[in-house]
């Protein structure tokens, strides 16, 4: 019986109340000391062999008979209007099958009408102008050169703080500030508290635009069969792509099938249908052939999203004993040309510590640059970089140990809602981390001779990660005693398939080899949310458990009838029926196949609501040990320690991969990664993997990590929370604090490159004529 319930969900730092439909009964969470056989055990990926043999088919790899290739012409100006456009020469080129422009396709509104699929106004360098499909990519690229466009250049603005001024060039009719005003939060009276504080600090921080650079670029392959469209899409949200495509093209949902089996990274940027998807679908319809449209690396870095830059003005006030009394943050984030939402760089400031007086004013501002997209803990990475450095500045001023200052302001209830946390393992994370890095002995390890300086730093992490409904799952028991779990979620590389198999195997009492997991197909699957916001496991996992439980109960009922034994005398273990009074366990196929022939059991499951009286969050602490060369400005990271609490650990093997991966992305953000714009033309100068420097194998230090493995009694029936985003959140701040510990100066602008370190050390000559 379906039920409608109200629940609270959190996504990327924002909270939503919503009604959801759930079905089936909620299960009691596994107890903390429950003896589990599959869950909590290191389990190699169930699809490992596909990944290592090249058999795994990603969207990029889809090849269909008669398939054509698409390429997009993009604006070379940050703000312009197309005066005229001539595609005749391109159309005539041998092998070109279609050219789409705003003149020959329907006006399809995107982002609630903020812009259109193709339109004459272009709001960033990289905005879509025209689309070509041809027999091969090179031909399409030849054709791009033949399209003649006459652009009228318009004034543009690229700096978010500048763009927030009314005198700036306007990008949208309603002005450049999202929703017309900043998002404000206040508790207590921060301004008054600052005036009254014993000690205050004040600093301006900036964080750079970071590019996801998912190795598989964004893209889709679209094929029509009659009026049904199949889309292979490199996405974190197949149902989101389905909804977007159906709405844009006016199709019923059941006529759009979206498939994503393997995906080469997304990190938050692949949460919906792209212009490339819609253009490929329109063109495929027009020419009657499948169209393959994957972005190039350059396009990926111009148009597929980014972690927005921020400018943050932060003031803290405290009593002499270290009690935080005031936090005041004003921030500007550059959305780029299009967005319906802004991030919360103020999240950590509002939540990390017990502070009665907090004010955050967050401006999200349109600029004539590539649109932002969620990037692994959007807002919180930027906000933690500044806020946790400010906490260290305060510690310095108070002559307090940075860890002691953090412990002094520790809080067990959510300071925004007043609700207790369902679990909060941050104190243990601090303790374990401090021990692993040698925090209390660090002063003896400092190097102060020669040109090398060693330093230690730390930072804390808070994030959501509760997940929530709606999410559904089915569990099919086949008559040979194998099980198929069906969901509509996606494994974006985190190991979702494997943990779902563990959960199902645990609940069913099956060996994991007898459980397969199907996902990534809207037509075969059942609704699951996007794989973002650290929510896949805590959303879909509990639904899978319910579905498996339902199937198991049905199986036991059937077995009871077939074996003529009371149901409560039958237990499932290792895929066998253990029946009280029988010496040998009974094989499942004896019950199912032999007695009932082609019978199939279908178990159903839904994710239940989130707890009403608890705040479900994830926590962690990271510590960095660095050596800085004061003559060259080079930073060597000796070690990072990461200790996190995300509830129960389902798979220690894959959770370790997540932690290491987050830390490594975090250190790229800290030290090397930065999109560079030419200030005079608004063009991106490094839309490539040569000048946009992601960490290489040799940039990776020793990373020691531990989980505070604690079943969350309230979060959901697994006791597990998300972990995808938490490990990237504190890394850059911990490194920044360690650098400051080493050289005695805080570098407040990210990324912390050698030139900034040398500048901080006053070793840089300032350029004369060109300042």
């Amino acid at each position: 019986m379906a039920r409608v319930v109200k629940t609270k969900t959190e996504f990327e730092g924002n909270f939503f109340e919503q009604y959801i439909v759930i079905e089936g009964d909620e299960l009691t969470p596994w107890a903390a000391d429950e003896k589990l056989e599959k869950v909590g055990k290191c389990t190699p990926r169930v699809d490992g062999s596909e990944r290592v043999t090249g058999d795994a088919k990603y969207t990029y790899d889809i090849q269909l008979a008669g398939m054509l290739y698409g390429r997009i012409l993009r604006s070379p100006y940050p703000h312009a209007r197309i005066k005229s456009l001539d595609t005749r020469a391109a159309e005539k080129l041998h092998g070109v099958r279609a050219v789409l422009t705003h003149k020959n396709i329907p006006q399809i509104p995107l982002r609630m009408g903020q812009h259109f699929l193709l339109e004459p106004t272009l709001r960033y360098a990289g905005d879509e102008v025209a689309f070509i499909v041809a027999d091969d990519e090179e031909i399409a690229e030849d054709a791009l050169e033949l399209i003649e466009v006459d652009y009228q250049e318009l004034p543009f603005v690229i700096d978010p703080e500048e763009a927030s001024q009314p005198s700036s060039p306007q990008i949208h009719l309603n002005g450049n500030v999202l929703n017309g005003k900043p998002e404000e939060y206040e508790r207590g009276d921060a301004e008054k508290a600052l005036r009254e504080a014993d000690v205050t600090i004040e600093a301006r921080f900036t964080t750079q635009v970071a590019l996801h650079n998912s190795l598989e670029t964004h893209g889709s392959v679209c094929a029509w069969e009659g009026d049904s469209l199949t889309v292979w899409d490199s996405t974190q949200h197949i149902y989101g792509v389905r909804a977007g495509v159906a709405q844009a093209l006016g199709l019923p949902l059941n006529k759009v099938r979206v498939i994503k089996k393997y995906m080469g990274g997304g990190f938050g940027s692949k949460n919906g249908a792209g212009k490339y998807t819609l253009l490929a679908a329109l063109a495929a319809k027009k020419v009657g052939r499948p169209v393959h449209m994957m972005l190039t690396r350059k396009e990926e870095n111009l148009a597929a999203g980014n972690r927005n830059n921020t400018i943050q003005y932060l003031r803290l006030g405290a009593k002499r004993d270290g009690t935080l009394t005031a936090i005041y943050l004003r921030s500007y984030a550059g959305l780029g040309a299009y967005s319906l939402w802004g991030t919360s760089p103020g999240g950590p400031a509002r939540q990390l510590y017990a502070c009665p007086n907090v004010k955050t004013i967050q401006y999200s501002v349109f600029t004539n640059t590539g649109p932002m997209a969620a990037f692994r803990a959007p807002g919180y990475v930027e906000g933690t970089f500044s806020f946790e450095q400010a906490i260290d500045m305060l510690a310095q001023k108070l002559h307090m140990d940075p860890l002691e200052l953090r412990l002094k302001n520790y809080i067990d209830t959510n300071p925004m809602s007043g609700m207790p946390y369902s679990t909060k393992g941050l104190r243990e994370a601090y303790e374990r981390g401090a021990k692993l890095i040698g925090w209390r002995e660090r002063k003896s390890k400092k190097i102060t001779q020669g040109t090398q300086r060693r330093g230690f730093g730390m930072a804390s992490q808070i994030w959501g990660g509760s997940g929530g409904p709606p999410a559904y799952a089915l569990c099919k028991l086949n008559n040979d005693g194998s099980a198929t779990i069906i969901t509509g979620t996606q494994d974006i590389g985190t190991g979702t398939k494997t943990v779902l198999a563990q959960i199902a195997a645990e609940e069913l009492g099956f060996p994991i080899e007898r459980v397969s997991v199907e996902l990534g197909d809207t037509q075969d699957g059942v609704y699951s949310p996007l794989s973002a916001g650290s929510m896949t496991l805590p959303s879909v996992g509990p639904a899978v458990r319910v579905a498996a439980h339902d199937a198991k109960e049905q199986l036991l009922s059937i077995a009871a009838q077939v074996l003529e034994k009371p149901k409560d005398q039958i237990k499932l273990k290792d895929g066998l029926l253990h029946v009280q009074g029988l010496e040998k366990p009974v094989e499942l196929k004896e019950v199912l196949a032999m007695k009932l022939q082609n019978f199939m059991i279908i178990g159903k499951g839904a994710r239940g609501p989130n707890p009403e009286k608890y705040s479900v969050n994830t926590f962690g602490a990271q510590f960095a040990d660095v050596t800085v060369d004061t003559e060259t400005g080079e930073v060597l990271i000796n070690k990072i320690v990461a200790v996190h609490e995300s509830g129960r650990v389902i798979n220690p093997l894959t959770i370790g991969s997540q932690i290491e991966g987050g830390v490594i992305q975090g250190l790229g953000f800290a030290l090397t990664e930065e999109r560079v714009l030419d200030r005079h033309t608004g063009l991106v100068l490094n839309p490539n993997l040569e000048e946009y420097k992601v960490p290489t194998a040799l940039d990776v230090p020793e990373i020691e990590h531990e989980m505070i493995d604690r079943a969350d009694p309230y979060a959901n029936n697994l006791g597990a929370k998300g972990v995808g985003e938490p490990p990237i959140i504190p890394t850059a701040a911990a490194i920044a604090n360690a650098i400051s510990d080493a050289i005695g100066v805080h570098v407040t602008d990210g990324p912390i490159t050698p030139d900034k370190i040398l500048k901080a050390l006053n070793k840089t000559q300032i350029g004369g004529n060109h300042a």
Binding site: P44, R45, G48, S49, R51, V52, T53, G54, D55, A56, K57, Y58, Y60, D61, Q63, D136, E137, E138, H212, N213, S214, L215, E216, T217, Y262, M263, G264, G265, F267, M294, T296, R297, I492, G493, T494, G495, L653, T654, G656, S657, Q658, E660, G661, G662, V663, I664, Q665, N688, L689, E690, V694, P695, T696, A697, L698, V700, I703
Partner: protein
């Protein structure tokens, strides 16, 4: 500079610009393709031979996902013209498992969880394959350097290092056995 004595030019064959036959020897198999001179080895493998294990990520020699082994050396197939690979021996990820049995590297990657999204994995494995073919006793540093031309955006590096060392161990123990 001194004058060079000029001799008569030997006759040369101009190929292209249109499609022409190109012979490739891939994974111990002979193939004849019809491609333009601008066809890269990567596109030839992926589009003409359907070997999609090598990935196109940057298409300009800055990521390593397209790494294949040509005459025993790992190279970027995106910066290699198919037409210039005739008479060379090309090895891709698809040839590693033999008779349904995974190569030690593949086995080690699974056991160590040396991937996340898996998009860089074929390239990483081919770089390590070239290393282990040449050096059965690599140090950690050898392993790191061997994959220093293969970016992994998910950050699986620590486990890739472990998998490289573990595979070497597996191979040594097989040889010893």
């Amino acid at each position: 500079m001194a004058k060079a004595t000029k001799t008569k030019r030997a006759s040369v064959t101009v190929r292209g610009p249109h499609k022409m036959p190109v012979h490739l020897f891939v994974n111990r198999q002979d193939y004849e393709l019809h491609v333009e001179p601008r066809r890269t080895l990567l596109d030839a493998l992926r589009k003409d031979l359907g070997l999609t294990g090598a990935k196109k990520v940057c298409d300009e020699g800055t990521c390593g996902a397209c790494t294949v082994i040509v005459d025993g050396k790992p190279v970027y197939s995106c910066l290699t013209l198919a037409i210039e690979c005739e008479e060379k021996s090309i090895e891709t990820i698809e040839a590693l498992a033999q008779d349904g049995k995974l190569h030690a590297l593949q086995q080690a990657f699974i056991e160590e969880d040396a991937y996340q999204c898996g998009f860089c994995t074929p390239g990483q494995i081919m770089s390590l394959k070239a290393l282990l073919d040449e050096n059965p006793n690599p140090t950690l540093d050898d392993v790191k350097r061997a994959v220093s031309g293969n970016l992994c955006r998910c950050g699986a590096y620590p486990k890739i290092f472990r998998a490289g060392l573990r595979a070497a161990e597996i191979l040594r123990s097989k040889k010893g056995a």
